[in-house]
């Protein structure tokens, strides 16, 4: 019974991980920008929803506020930080440090406004129901899994069937060729940031109702996104989704063997092993050099 319980919890966590990580994976895969502030996007989306919902705006306006906040943050960061850096050189490390700096600032600004403690959005949906004897599942778990299925399928469809999606994949393969075909790489890059940012919204909102939020959660989100992207294979969106779900499951099922304070260590043990043994990840193409 415990194993089933943990597997369902793991699926819920994994669904949220996949939804979070896929945005980072999309941005990093297509633009090669090491968008470390992706965690900050998550924090902004979550706290915008928390503030709007808490102010009694209702669910839909709350979701809209959250999406607007996330997309605006992604686009502004791209325009004001990444594009200027790419203009003069744009080594991996310069971009990483700039992005990291923004992440630190956002975490502390949110902390000053909303406090550094945990906050939760109260909803009856997080109340667990006994499914079969000994297995408790809250409606939010199903919502999380359904959201992941719908949004990830939509993203796959978008990447394969629309012009923007194809342009994004083209950009990851060969930016020069994109320019030759008369497309504007900068506009495609902005599209990557808009989509990569907006896709964290469902995970941010569900997390605000399940485990709750604190300003430092951005770090955790970023670590998970990075782990899922690398374990899945950089440049492979389906790989990231798969890795996100697997990491969630592994964290949860690890509780059968170890205490809960080791869950994060499990994720990073897996990441560490992949980097050393198989840097190209589950579904990755190229090597790490």
């Amino acid at each position: 019974m415990l194993a089933i319980q943990l597997a369902i919890t793991g699926l819920q966590t994994g669904a949220l991980y996949a939804l979070t990580a896929v945005g980072f994976s999309l941005i990093f895969g297509s633009t090669r920008i090491f968008h470390f502030a992706h965690g900050a996007t998550f924090v902004i989306a979550a706290y915008f929803f928390y503030a709007a919902f808490g102010a009694g705006w209702g669910l839909i306006p709350g979701i809209l506020a959250s999406a607007l906040g996330a997309v605006a943050f992604g686009l502004v960061l791209d325009r004001l930080v990444y594009v200027p850096i790419q203009r003069h050189e744009g080594s991996f490390f310069t971009v990483f440090v700039a992005s990291f700096g923004v992440g630190i600032a956002v975490q502390n600004v949110i902390g000053m406004i909303f406090g550094r403690g945990f906050v939760t959005v109260n909803t009856s949906l997080s109340r667990s129901v006994e499914l079969v004897p000994g297995v408790y599942v809250s409606p939010l778990a199903w919502i999380a899994i359904a959201c992941a299925a719908v949004f990830l399928a939509a993203l796959q469809f978008f990447m394969r069937r629309t012009h923007t999606g194809m342009a994004l994949r083209a950009l990851s393969d060969n930016p020069e060729l994109v320019r030759t075909f008369g497309l504007n790489p900068r506009r495609i890059q902005a599209a990557a940031f808009a989509i990569g940012s907006v896709i964290v919204v469902p995970a941010a909102i569900i997390t605000s109702a399940t485990t709750g939020l604190n300003p430092a959660i951005g770090h955790h989100v970023m670590l998970i996104s990075l782990a899922a992207t690398i374990v899945g294979g950089i440049g492979s969106i389906s790989g990231t989704m798969l890795a996100g779900v697997l990491l969630g499951l592994a964290e949860s099922l690890a509780l059968l063997v170890v205490d809960s304070q080791w869950t994060e260590a499990v994720t990073f043990g897996i990441l560490f092993a992949f980097i050393i043994i198989r840097p190209s990840g589950l579904l990755g193409r190229a090597a790490a050099h």
């Binding site: 850096i85 490390f93 310069t94 990483f96 440090v97 502390n108």
Partner: protein, 291 residues
């Protein structure tokens, strides 16, 4: 007031050692580690353990700390040999997160969350050094020694090899340089010297816990290196002094809320990092634009 200033001198010296040693692998070998606080912590815990159980002599506890950190740093050298760039950042992050869990769970060695209490003051040939003023002399001397060691290394053929590897690993290898060996040695040296900072920290405060060795510390040290200037001699020390003086400067302005000093410090250095990367990637001391 005097004690306050000497306390600041001690902290700046200790963090300068961390920044200088991180700069050694970051600026000269291109190994961007987010796990430097691990070796700081290892140095602190091992020297505390040795001081309590074996001998508080500086000639026993400090070398023990260096050996412990140097040995564990092979764990960091392993991914450094295999991968570069974002992969290595991820691996070092993983090591940092794992280590914090181990630091807070391995109670017999680290005291868990509660930490290690009553660490005896360091003993130098029978002299117990614990007053901030006395300790400031010790910590500055250690900083100077570390600087001299690093400087000698950077200007030796070893340092040239490191820079060659940073700029092009395959070119260095094709000139017959033993790239894995050089990288491993640089990581071990950096970690062992960072452990000295940990040993100083433990014997100075006589109390340590895991809070001082988290990702936040690694990030702070990295910010010091970057803001000061990666790959420069003076940069890391300038960065360390600036970031540690920041809280005092902020508290000087009365209109800013006292409770938010920590947050304001982090916001300032976060935005500082971002702005520097946009306008002056070489840091405050650095001249070249970017490395």
């Amino acid at each position: 007031m005097e004690a306050y200033i000497f306390n600041l001198v001690n902290l700046i010296a200790i963090y300068s050692i961390l920044a200088v040693t991180l700069n050694f692998i970051m600026g000269y070998a291109g190994i961007y580690s987010l796990a430097h606080a691990v070796f700081f912590g290892l140095g602190a815990y091992s020297s505390a353990w040795v001081a309590q159980h074996v001998s508080p002599s500086i000639f026993v506890s400090y070398p023990a700390a260096m050996v412990a950190a140097g040995a564990v740093s092979l764990l960091l050298a392993l991914p450094a040999l295999r991968v570069r760039g974002e992969y290595f950042v991820a691996a070092s992050l993983g090591l940092q997160v794992l280590s914090v869990t181990i630091f807070s769970e391995w109670k017999s060695f680290t005291g868990g969350i509660g930490g290690v209490l009553a660490i005896p003051p360091v003993d130098i040939l029978g002299l117990e050094v614990f007053r901030p003023a006395q300790f400031a002399v010790l910590s500055v001397i250690v900083l100077v020694v570390v600087l001299l060691v690093i400087n000698a290394l950077v200007h030796s053929s070893f340092g040239r090899n490191l820079r060659a590897i940073r700029d092009s690993e395959s070119a260095a290898a094709s000139f017959g340089k033993n790239v894995p060996m050089i990288k491993t040695i640089s990581v071990v040296i950096s970690a062992a010297l960072a452990a000295v900072a940990g040993a100083l920290y433990a014997s100075y405060l006589s109390f340590i816990n895991v809070e001082s060795f988290t990702l936040d510390t690694s990030v702070l040290v990295m910010a010091m290196v970057i803001i000061g200037g990666t790959g420069t001699v003076a940069g890391p020390i300038v960065g360390a002094a600036l970031l540690l003086l920041l809280p005092s400067v902020i508290s000087y302005f009365d209109f800013l809320p006292r409770t938010e000093i920590g947050s304001l410090q982090q916001i300032i250095y976060g935005l500082g990092m971002t702005l520097l990367m946009i306008f002056r990637p070489g840091g405050i001391v650095g001249r070249r634009s970017g490395t």
